[in-house]
Amino acid sequence: MNAPDIGLFSLFFASIFTSNILLANFLGMCSFIAISKDLKSSNGLGLAVTVVLTVTGAANWLILHYILIPYDLIYLRFIIFILVIAAMVQILEMVIDRVSQKLYITLGIFLPLITVNCAILGVSLFIEIREYNFVQTVIYSLGSGLGWWLAIVALAAIRNKTEKTKTVPAGLQGSGLTMITIGLMALAFIGFSGMLSVQ
């Protein structure tokens, strides 16, 4: 196994900031735009995505290295990664329903939608392409989750502010302005990528 030679802290930092899964790879956009209207739901969804990402990242690494590679089944990775993600989301849904009814209702339909959040599948596929070892996988998945969380909360906060101002032209209100905001945020995040990158 040729795990890339990168410090764990650097990997963690890079996955949150300079190679943010949302703003550098533009993965997981649909829920990013849909949910960021509301700060509270963004926070909940961010947490859910982080947990699902970390768990599925680790689970998929184990399946990749103990089932898919030994049996030469690497071509099945898409379908199997999706299966694992779907199962994890189901389990998470049950747990949230039990633990916090409030969060369950806030997340509503978006919780099952995490299943088709491309950021989750993206991370699992990056792990395979970049040949991370298990510890790196966990760090990278957790970092990506936190990065996603950070980005959606930041966007929600910005949208909160811009929606209160009355100076936005009618044609740009809503998703128009959101897209521009995301673009500016991406520029800011990518600005750091000279410092450190995991791409």
Binding site: L68, M94, R98, Q101
Partner: protein, 374 residues
């Protein structure tokens, strides 16, 4: 190559099985709310149940059937129950069905919340007696060209407990292009004093799933599921004059009510006015029986009215829409100053029109009774 063909499906199905096992294991652990106590109507009935399922399903397991036309998908809004304990906020799926007073009174759709602990609910008392039976068709009679009377026998030893005027749900099996069992509500025309039988009057509605089945496919000796009884339509125990209005198969609950009143003698203790609307003579039925009641019992009055009598009918009675006839009689000396209660059964359009006439003559909404389910 051959082994690869074998291993791929094996790997996928093996993994799926493992994940499914993991999910059901989590379900067992996370959704295990242990034994919960549902206290119904302030402790009148206490049910000890296994938590974790929806209130609707949990109650059905306990043989309490909350009315539900969609079977728990949250799309009919009929399975409302009032909760006396906190069962969490209203979820988005139930919001379309909630009136402001529902929201204030903690009314929820019972299919949309789970039993997660001890809860208290309030439901109409009669729901305790709602039961599902496999009933056998004993007799099908043609009342008119488009109304059939179907007489069911319940399983041996079973006796129902309902009030004259209430309704039941009939479930017909899939047939033709209809792929799912279908339930519809029909008023009972039988009397509670014949507890081993139930009877309905079913008018053929063009395109109707259940009515078409009953008219074209149902045979004597066949078995159908009948869920009985539902509804708040029954005679109130007062001395007020009963103003009863029906059209077509809306006769059903009144057949039940009048038969029962004859049996217990209450037909001689209060004034009853029964207005029955039909199009022409060929739509009239039970006229002889009702005219006989009118003659025998001084305080019972039967007023049939035809809206479009044909010349060959030779009709001597009232003509015009039933609302016009009602309007005329409500100002007559007999009814003008009497204390009145309204009893209505018919199509939603007829109900609304009659309500309007009754309101015009100062009858109170709270004393006009009907079950709207058509």
């Amino acid at each position: 190559m051959n082994t690869a063909l074998l291993i791929a499906p094996l790997a996928i199905s093996g993994l799926s099985a493992a994940l499914a096992a993991l999910i059901s294991l989590t379900d067992k652990i996370v959704n295990n709310y242990g034994e919960c106590i549902i206290s119904v109507n302030g402790g009148k009935k206490e049910l000890t149940v296994q938590g974790g399922s929806s209130m609707l399903a949990t109650l059905a397991e306990q043989q309490i059937f909350i009315p539900s036309a969609c079977g728990g998908r949250g799309s009919c809004g009929e399975c409302k129950v009032k909760c006396t304990t906190d069962v969490g906020p209203h979820v988005p799926t139930e919001m379309p069905w909630m009136t402001p007073s529902d929201l204030k009174n903690n009314v929820h759709l019972s299919c949309q919340f789970k039993v997660k602990g001890d809860v208290g609910i309030e439901i109409p008392e009669y729901l305790f007696y709602v039961k599902r039976y496999k009933a056998t068709v004993e007799r099908i009679t043609d009342l008119t060209h488009d109304i059939k009377e179907v007489y069911f026998k319940l399983p041996d030893g079973v006796s129902t407990n309902y009030k004259a005027g209430q309704y039941a749900q009939i479930e017909v099996p899939p047939y033709g292009k209809i792929k799912e069992p279908t339930q519809r509500a029909y008023s009972l025309s039988s009397t509670p004093n014949d507890p081993n039988h139930v009877e309905f009057m079913i008018r053929l509605v063009p395109g109707g799933i259940v009515t078409t089945y009953v008219h074209e496919h149902l045979k004597e000796g066949q078995k159908l599921d009948v869920i009985v009884p539902f509804g708040e339509f029954h005679v109130r125990d007062t001395s007020a004059t009963m103003v009863c209005v029906a059209g077509g198969s809306g006769m059903a609950p009144f057949k039940s009510i009048f038969t029962t009143m004859v049996e217990d003698g209450s037909i001689d203790k209060r004034d009853v006015w029964y207005f029955f609307g039909a199009r022409s003579v060929r739509d009239l039925f039970y006229v002889e029986w009702l005219s006989e009641l009118d003659e025998k019992h001084e305080r019972f009055h039967f007023i049939p009215a035809l809206s479009e009598p044909e010349e060959s009918d030779n009709w001597q009675g009232e003509t015009g829409l039933i609302t016009e006839v009602l309007d005329k009689y409500l100002v007559s000396d007999n009814l003008k100053d009497a204390e009145k209660e309204g009893y209505l059964c018919g199509s939603p359009g007829m109900l609304d029109a009659c309500m309007a006439v009754m309101r015009k003559h100062d009858m109170e909404d709270e004393r006009i009774y009907f079950d709207k389910f058509a």
